[in-house]
């Protein structure tokens, strides 16, 4: 039984179709890469799935429950958590406090939340940054913080939005290992990514969006050979770092 199903998802803004009849299913334990040229509608799709925007048409099913139109917090509490492409931390709070906010999704007391947050942070090698204010973090650390916060909510499905873009190849490699270990712990992942190195290394399945439509769904090796995918990316820089 598919864990997460997106069916005929459509979103129009005024006359513009940002997302058009997109459908795909995510199996438990999979890592799905959601790729496509800029403006393809990937982040909008995430917003629609996580409740930040209402679809004009179509549905989202999570664990057989129709979650279309639910509020973002309700969806998060059901086990689907997203990160933001433009990082949304709590800048004046410390790293630890940031992660604790995520921990409160499942832990009611401050002590339990702190313990869980420290747990998550040690898995992400962020413990030394615990007392630093989020606004003083480097880009790489901020990206980790985004993941840490989301992970602290103990999600079943994690929607990662461009968590490796802007990082050095070494940093990308580190995050790839991390993301794989998160999956190995039982979290299903859908990731939007431009950095092909990460996408190819991690994805079990790839969904390609172009102008809001799904133009490909399949294994990564087939994606790079598919003529429609290649054409969509012509003129786009493929980061095959």
């Amino acid at each position: 039984m598919s864990l997460l199903v997106v069916e005929g998802l459509t979103k129009t803004f005024g006359g513009l179709r940002a997302v058009s009849n997109v459908s795909f299913a995510v199996e438990p334990g999979a890592i799905v890469g959601l790729i496509g040229p800029n403006g393809a509608g990937k982040t909008t799709t995430f917003s629609l799935m996580s409740g930040f925007q209402r679809p004009t048409a179509g549905d989202v099913f999570f664990m057989d429950e129709r979650i279309t139109g639910l509020s973002p917090d309700a969806i998060c509490l059901r086990g689907l958590t997203r990160t933001f492409q433009i990082m949304q931390s709590f800048p004046k709070l410390t790293t630890l406090q940031n992660v604790m906010i995520g921990a409160y999704a499942r832990h009611t007391t401050v002590t339990a939340a702190r313990r869980h947050a420290m747990d998550i942070m040690s898995r992400l090698a962020m413990v030394e940054r615990a007392q630093e204010l989020a606004r003083n973090l480097t880009l790489a650390d901020l990206k980790r913080l985004e993941i840490a916060k989301a992970l602290a909510t103990s999600p079943r499905v994690l929607l990662l939005d461009e968590v490796v873009s802007g990082l050095t190849p070494t940093e990308v490699d580190e995050l790839v290992v991390l993301i794989r270990s998160i999956r190995d712990d039982g979290v299903t992942i859908v990731m939007i990514e431009h950095v092909m190195q990460a996408v190819m290394a991690l994805s079990d399945m790839i969904v390609v969006l172009h102008h809001g439509e799904k133009i490909f769904e399949g294994v990564p090796q087939d994606a790079v050979k598919d003529p429609r995918v290649v054409e969509a990316y012509l003129g786009e820089e493929l980061l095959l770092a």
């Binding site: 998060c76 958590t81 949304q88 800048p91 204010l133």
Partner: protein
Amino acid sequence: MSVRALLTALVAGVVLLGLPRFLGEHHMHVIIQILLFAYLSLCWNILGGFAGQLSFGHALFMAAGAYTSTLLLLHAGISPWIGMIAGGVIAAALGLFIGYLSFRYGIKGTYFALVTLAFTEIARIVALNTPAIGGALGLYIPIQTDDFWHLKFIQKSHYYYVALAFLLVALAVNAWLERSAFGHRLVAIRENEDAAQALGINLLRYKLQATALSAFLTALGGTLFAHYVTFIDPHTLLNMNMALELTIYAIIGGVGTLWGPVLGALFLVPLAEGVRAAFGQSYAGIHLVIYGAVLIGVILFAPDGFIGVLRSIRELRPRRAPAAQSSEARS
């Protein structure tokens, strides 16, 4: 709690408890006002500081408390200690109503502030035109006793101790907010609503809870205020000056902090008294010229308030080993 903190608390306790013995009636009056406004702004701080929803509606909550307990006393002889609870409930209901209308559509920031101001103005006009609650003439609390049960004392020092107790309660609530999951969630909402939502925090629910708590406690202060000044009317309680004034203490002292509102009141109330003394009791509201000027100065030069200035000074001091800095962030 460290030894130093304990000792400070002890000394402070002794000083505060013994204060009335050394001060005359006029000084007691000023101190009581400091305590009252510190209390009110700590209550405001719950919604305006921790939850980050700037509200000009707290005059309304204060008035709800004052009017409810006074009317219950005048018409049914009910003690203000019970009346204030009723007032608190009514204020909380008003807060929930206004909050629900506003928050369910994500009205926030400056727009929310103006919405609360509009409601305060509605209340003012309605109160002015409702003779049943005193109308423009207001209500007097005519009790001549010296009586705890009626919250009416001859000696100012008794009011002082009551006000001090209120302040301690408000400080306790604020301190709890600083350390509790509920408070942390409010701060998350304040710092970044989208991020908070994405992590499972229901904005409406928590904002409403903060509003209800803040309104309830503010109303209690309204009752105390009413019994101290023994006269309430829409012009004093519900005019825009009061609505604005209630926010200023926390903003100048440091919004969202534990001691900010107290510092604000400590600084501004004596200042206002000084202004009044200098201008010989002329028109009510003169002190607000000074408050306004201080507010402008704070926004321009020290937007985090006095607490922010104190923190900056602390950060400028020579640092010890990095590990020792962990006392700064309270987790």
